[in-house]
């Protein structure tokens, strides 16, 4: 494996350009060797891909998703062109991976950038129309003295609907999303419609079993949200409910009919009263740099951002340094052939590296528990050291656990690097009268650092986003009660992103994405500087 270097350089020299005859010969050989079997395998694989694409295109058209539809058509066309073409050989090998890379790495990166400029999150996750209908639906109140409508709960494709009989005897059907419409093929039982074509009538037992869903049904009376909706408390009789809010589409305002307050669309993504009160849910809008500005200028957010960033750097740097020095020390200690049992020591010491890190971190969290943990109870004889709940000690604990998790890797790497240093250097130095320590410090260590430096950078980048250790061990805690977001004193940037986006009462996707972008920029700058220094990119020829 150590032959990589010389072979790599030799391989990378471009081969002489083949002449026309050579290319023809290669093409003929290719065609002759493929055979019909390979061709059929290829044909079948492409047929499957195309069939799936056609299905996807129909679904996308049905949902009026035009941009994704065009993308699917284009990608399918390109894939067919590549695999039916006689040339395009590199593309044939690269396309499958590149498609996944493009969708799940590059696209999501760009999409993260877009979300960072929106107010996407709890209360702002749909269009304005959706916000209007959901506001109207959530403020429904029963109209007094309204007629009672006999209703039957029906189902179609897993979605519940109501079959409503008018006082006139006409039947109509609707669901939460579809306003009432007259239906055909209705079966009556007395004055009450009980079944309709294309719909399954729910039996009494089913209605009981799905009470929550049934009572949550609010079937709009017509296209105009101000007309109200039919709801049924018991699954057999429905009443007209009308919203206490009135929507004026022309003026774009919501009026609370009880208090008379007018909520207007002031461009902040929600109906806002003059005193600043907002009706939620609102809708999604682009807010420009607001999230970034908020992250760095809002005092309650800027404070956590600063200490989280500092701790992230400290955590990554100390983790790399501590694991590297322990690993190097051990590599030197065990790099002595006179020592017996080195293999056994090595296998036992790399066990922490073999165990999935989320499990190790959870086990350490148990052992470091303040009142019941092994460390306090047994090793310290019943002490009550707040290993994971004191802001400073929690950081120390994290560094210790991360040292435990990380030193075997550095040990293995340093072992390999030490053994690849030519012995002649040491001999020459010894002959010149150098002491062992000088040989190590002046010759071995610099050579070792040259080879290990890229791995140290990679390790830094890994620890910079080392989610598992932090999240499983302390969950970022102890919690900072002053911050408006669920952030704690041992959170690193990536756990903060996760918590802002996915935990707590309100999810703020926009702010989380803005934090992500800030991390992107920091990582990019560090990587560029690091690569400039180590010139690792020189190997890419």
């Amino acid at each position: 494996m150590s032959t990589t270097i010389e072979d790599g350089t030799r391989q990378d020299a471009p081969p002489p350009k083949p002449s026309r005859r050579q290319r023809q010969a290669a093409a003929i050989a290719d065609a002759a060797s493929g055979g019909m079997k390979v061709f059929f395998v290829k044909l079948i694989a492409l047929a499957i891909v195309d069939a799936l694409a056609v299905y996807a295109i129909f679904v996308l058209i049905a949902h009026a998703q035009w941009v994704p539809m065009v993308v699917v058509v284009a990608v399918t066309a390109v894939v067919n062109w590549i695999y039916f073409s006689r040339k395009k050989l590199p593309a044939k090998y690269l396309t499958p991976g590149v498609i996944f890379l493009a969708v799940f790495q590059v696209f999501v990166l760009l999409y993260t950038g877009y979300i960072a400029f929106t107010n996407y999150g709890t209360g702002h996750n749909g269009s304005k129309e959706q916000a209007v209908s959901s506001l109207m639906a959530s403020s429904l109140e029963r109209v007094e003295d309204s007629p009672t409508y006999p209703v039957t709960v029906v189902e179609q494709g897993g979605q519940l609907g109501l079959l409503v009989t008018d006082p006139d005897g006409d039947a109509s059907i609707g669901t939460n999303d579809r306003p009432l419409e007259p239906v055909s093929g209705v079966e009556f039982e007395g004055d009450k419609a009980v079944a309709a074509d294309g719909w399954t009538t729910l039996q009494f037992a089913d209605v009981l079993a799905r009470t929550d869903e049934v009572t949550a049904l609010a079937v709009p009376f017509s296209d105009d949200p101000n007309d109200g909706a039919i709801r049924t408390p018991d699954g057999s009789s429905g009443y007209l409910y009308v919203s206490t809010l009135e929507y004026d589409e022309a003026a774009g305002t919501m009026t609370d009919l009880e208090t008379g307050t007018v909520y207007a669309d002031t461009g902040v993504g929600a109906f806002t009263a003059e005193d600043g009160e907002q009706l939620l849910p609102g809708w999604q809008i682009t807010v420009g740099f607001d999230n970034f500005v908020r992250a760095v200028t809002d005092a309650r957010l800027a404070g956590p951002l600063v200490y989280v960033t500092l701790w992230t750097f400290a955590f990554a740097l100390i983790s790399v340094a501590s694991t590297f020095f322990l690993g190097l020390f051990l590599a030197i200690v065990f790099n002595d052939l006179r020592m017996r049992g080195r293999k056994i020591y090595r296998v036992l010491m790399i066990l922490p590296y073999a165990i999935p890190s989320f499990l190790s971190a959870l086990v350490w969290a148990g052992m470091m528990n303040q009142s019941f943990g092994f460390i306090n109870q047994v090793l310290l004889g019943g002490a009550s050291v707040p290993w994971l709940t004191d802001p400073l000690l929690a950081k120390v604990s994290i560094l210790i656990v991360n040292l435990w998790l990380g030193f075997p890797y550095m040990f293995l790497v340093c072992m390999g690097a030490l053994q690849s240093i030519p012995d002649e250097l040491q001999e020459a130095a010894t002959v010149d009268g150098a002491k062992p320590w000088a040989v190590f410090r002046l010759i071995k260590l610099p050579l070792l650092l040259v080879t290990v430096a890229p791995l140290l950078i990679a390790s830094f980048a890994f620890n910079f986003n080392n989610f598992n250790t932090i999240y499983m061990l302390t969950d970022g805690g102890p919690r900072d009660s002053n911050a408006p977001i669920p952030v704690g004193f041992t959170d690193i940037l990536i756990t903060m992103v996760y918590k802002v986006a996915f935990t707590g009462q309100t999810r703020d996707y926009g702010l989380a994405s803005a934090y992500s972008i800030i991390i992107f920029i920091v990582v990019a700058i560090i990587s560029i500087i690091a690569f400039r220094r180590t010139k690792s990119l020189e190997e890419l020829n």
Binding site: D336, V378, V413, M415, T451
Partner: protein
């Protein structure tokens, strides 16, 4: 730190032996004879002080480090064997031995441990195979073919993989929930969806590792096969893939372990408890303050770690070789 003690007698011989011994470790382990080839130049009476200064203290370091490495492992194994233990009850190591807690975690209807286990194996296994396949295809074309945009492609892979998917988790969640609205079979809360997201990282550092290894296989082999009439597909599938099997094993294992370990994307995409992986399920289990059955959790942890550790030890020499190749590079 007295790093290197000069060896009395034939130092160069010993150090040469050292390099040989390393080659044994990583490439031809079957040849390794005993612990190390030892050459003792002259017989001298045993002197404890000299022995301690030269190798004895190394054993002390070794023992200390082994204790440090093993004690959480011993703790979790001990508490998993405790028939009914809370966290406190697990502190007396190996006081009681029984397999009750294994039975408990496997049969508790509240905890679908077997499902989590199967989900994890399926997701990590398919991801590992997919990553190896997609990565090997790409590495082959980068290594063997010269085309416009090759250098750009290599640099792009290096740069894109610097930004972990972790950071784009919000966008991944929103993308998958949109896909789920249109195609429920591959969207949110599906294993296929999660595997697809993981495969987004297939062309990453692993491809780069494989690319380096592919370069060590002489191109003359390809040329000879081509002259004999083999097409590119046959060369790739029947010749090259066999020659690079060690690096494929390393990449598959690294990919397997990282998918087993992956928490963030899995926890966001897999919503139903039944669908979750071990990382998500077990983490949520112990973070629940009402859950007090520490020995059942330990039993689960031991069972979850066992296959990974076994694979790791089985492929150890390849992994060490792979890491070392990275280091040497």
């Amino acid at each position: 730190m007295a790093a290197q003690h000069p060896v009395p007698g034939s130092q160069s011989g010993l150090l040469a032996g050292e390099v040989d011994e390393f080659a044994d470790d990583s490439t031809r382990a079957s040849v390794a004879v005993g612990d190390a080839p030892r050459r003792i130049p002259t017989k001298r009476p045993f002197n404890f002080g000299r022995w301690f200064r030269q190798t004895g203290w190394r054993h002390i370091v070794g023992v200390v480090m082994v204790v440090f490495s093993l004690f959480p492992i011993v703790f979790v194994v001990s508490s998993s064997l405790n028939p009914h233990g809370t966290l406190t009850g697990s502190n007396a190591l190996f006081s009681q031995i029984g397999l009750d807690s294994y039975v408990r975690i496997l049969s508790d209807p509240q905890i679908p441990f077997a499902r989590w286990f199967a989900n994890t194996l399926i997701i990590a296994g398919v991801t590992a195979l997919g990553t190896v396949f997609l990565g090997a295809l790409a590495a082959y074309s980068f290594s063997r073919m010269r085309f416009t945009g090759r250098r750009f492609g290599l640099i792009t892979i290096v740069i894109v993989q610097m930004f972990p998917q972790l950071l784009a988790v919000v966008a991944i969640f929103l993308l998958m929930s949109t896909i789920g609205d249109l195609f429920p079979a591959i969207g949110l809360n599906t294993h296929i969806g999660l595997i697809m997201v993981y495969l987004g990282g297939a062309l990453g550092v692993n491809t780069y590792l494989m690319y380096g290894f592919f370069n060590t296989v002489p191109a003359s082999i390809d040329e000879a096969a081509k002259i004999d009439g083999a097409g590119h597909a046959r060369i790739f599938f029947t010749i090259i893939l066999r020659l690079v099997a060690p690096i494929l094993a390393v990449v598959a294992l690294l990919s397997f372990i990282s998918s087993v370990n992956e928490f963030v994307v899995a926890s966001v995409l897999l919503i139903d408890t039944e669908n979750q992986t071990l990382a998500v399920g077990l983490t949520k289990l112990v973070s629940n303050p009402r859950y007090a059955d520490w020995s059942a959790f330990s039993a689960g942890a031991v069972m979850s770690a066992a296959p990974v550790v076994a694979l790791f030890l089985f492929l150890q020499k390849y992994i060490v070789g792979g890491l070392t190749a990275g280091a040497v590079k």
